[in-house]
Subunit: 237 residues, 4 copies
């Protein structure tokens, strides 16, 4: 069984009626509803306004894979919370950053770069599978379309990814490394670009399939643990 | 000074009038004309129909960077020629594969994959610079367009590139890792996707700038030599 | 269930009594004896002297992961056999190259480099786990020793690995990237350095654990298939 | 000309007589003395106890490549200083982290990992060149020894390096990825493991050659600039 925590800042849904109409109980609940159909997953939900920002030491300790959606309130996530999450990722927890999570404190701290990019509302996106045999691409077609999605465009200021699994094409003329993986410590990280709050992206079956695949891919290894500093004796010769 | 050898199979120009009209003395001559304006480059030209296919041991020995254009006659390049070129690359010669060079024996041998891809004539391409600080991207804008180019689309069956410098957007809906680098032995390799023979791609100033940058980037290191097998004595303790 | 084919050139065991004493039925049988204890694996054995060199189209078609040991007879493996194996790897079959497989036609063809290295018989090796959380390192200690092993030393002429999982330390003063991974097409590749025929390496429990882990790691994805060239129509706008 | 700033926390030299005896004017001055002999370099020195910790906005603006040595006072470097340095690196400044710089706020912030490792004083180290053709390895032998060096051992908790240029062998039985490169934004980063303050490492000609090579390698590109967020209009069709 994999313990999944879906974290959402959950603000747009409260202050923008058109977002509330799409995701009445929040983006996290929408994703959770799909993931709960996978019997290998134990799904919990958390929000920025929960106690300890929904990300207490205990909550993280009980999480195998953390899914993150945030946007307008990146700055409200405390440095302490962000560092706690990053430490837990390094100790083996998987992390799936969705859409504007690119600018979250957590993802930026994992990357060491600005994670800046181009953006524009209201494009059409076509996603291409670059590594069809990748675990995250299983059951995903060679390409699929999102009729409405926010354009995110290159140059995307991230470190060289370990793997580029998907590349996005936008009707306005841009491209984007839309699905990339990293390893940080014992933690596996997948960043996935689609998911603007004003569009029904999280109801798309391919998007959900990709998120579900990523959860399975990112689950901690048996050997997962933060690497420690030690001062060993030399080898006996 | 950098010794550049521009190799072209030089067949389309002889049998297709519309190609001859664009490149009357061949694609190699067109590229050469531009590169000769760089005073650090000594440019020579070679073709498939030259003696020893233009790629004798001696010619290669005197080459720092080899530029390759081939398409309809990949199969006529002998295995012996291809292996000779690959050995020389491993010993430090730079290699710049242009457009349909993706299916050349040389590039496939360097990759160990099929290098298969999607293709379609007559699209518009917009190239995006993914690593603006890369030596090959110096002086190249964030994006530029080729009004007519052959679409090459993902999935492109290549090994994980060391670097993805450019990604192409096509009007028909595809994307492509259009500029990628590899190291093989002591040799630096740059594959660049634009350059269909029916379009004036090699007259585009950004394309030429990229090729020229790549020549400087790919020149052999002082320490360049094929790594050899040796059987050394153990370290004295 | 994973179909594993363990291929061994099986010559040293026939002509060197000290090797026969260690591995009376061949290195392949020794490895196979251990792997057969894993109930998820269906293990078959094959040798260079079998019909079609033990690697017929049919045999490969029925193989999920191929383990390869070869040394003195690399040259007897026909180019046709090597190419057949490489095509099958690109179409999704996992490949585990052991020890002197570094110089096999198959591994060199996948790498595009000489795969040259340093070597010396009769060192002691200490292997270090560089990525403890990697699937291939599960259950493997941070380091373990092989009292007798052939030194393989850097520089090792291989492409930038996707991952370096193990690094070897040798008593004579050398180091080596002893466990490295690559993806070629849909196929996952693991090269592992230990396994000289004169030493009981394939009776070491950590070595066996690593090989078994690698088999599970390298099994083909559901989506595994050779990427093909296609000529699609443009996107409808 | 390349503007090099050599930054040293400069504390061990003030409180440990044996370190002062080796580096009477500090490690930074020792390195600087060598680099000043390179006529393409303009070398300046800075210390933790300088105003603005020697790393004011202006000082950084005028720096092409920053060399960093720190150890006992990592915690005294303010978060503000560390962030200012990281921003400047992302905007194109080269960064060379020496020895215990692995645990500096700057390097950890660039990596997003703990950068933990094993350590032990008083080993002998043999460094191996893994990529002889790399610019940082020019003029450096295939291997060289440091009679006394602090052992740093794997697992080293860093992200997958873009390149592993050197691997260290230690007499006590460990190995280490001793020379690794990264790109962060427009900045090039080289981490190099040797350089414990109690040993004459920075008087070794190979070490100095490597640092000097790294300075040339890490100098900013013409196109170097922080990638910004922009909100462009769609492509005209």
């Amino acid at each position: 069984m994999i313990n999944v925590l879906i974290w959402n800042e959950f603000r747009h849904e409260k202050c923008q009626p058109e977002v509330a109409a799409l995701y009445p109980q929040g983006i996290h609940s929408a994703i959770g509803g799909y993931l709960m159909q996978d019997e290998e997953l134990i799904v919990r939900l958390a929000c920025l306004d929960d106690p300890e920002q929904g990300l207490s030491e205990e909550a993280l300790e009980n999480t195998d894979v953390l899914i993150w959606w945030g946007h307008m309130a990146h700055g409200e996530v405390t440095d302490e919370t962000a560092s706690r999450v990053c430490r837990r990722i390094n100790a083996g927890m998987g992390f799936i950053g969705l859409h504007s999570a690119h600018h979250s404190k957590v993802f930026r701290q994992l990357c060491g770069t600005s994670c800046n990019l181009k953006w524009r509302h209201g494009d059409r996106e076509r996603l291409w599978t670059v590594i069809p045999s990748h675990p995250i691409a299983q059951g995903v077609p060679e390409h699929f379309e999102l009729a409405k999605e926010e354009m995110y465009g290159e140059p995307f200021d991230i470190p060289t990814p370990d793997e580029v699994v998907f590349i996005g094409w936008f009707s306005g003329g841009e491209v984007f490394r839309s699905g990339v993986t990293y390893r940080r410590g014992a933690g596996k990280i997948f960043y996935f670009q689609p998911g603007h709050e004003e569009y029904p992206t999280f109801k798309d079956k391919n998007v959900i399939r990709i998120i579900r695949n990523a959860v399975h891919w990112a689950k901690p290894a048996e050997n997962a643990a933060q690497i420690e500093c030690t001062n060993p004796a030399p080898l006996e010769v």
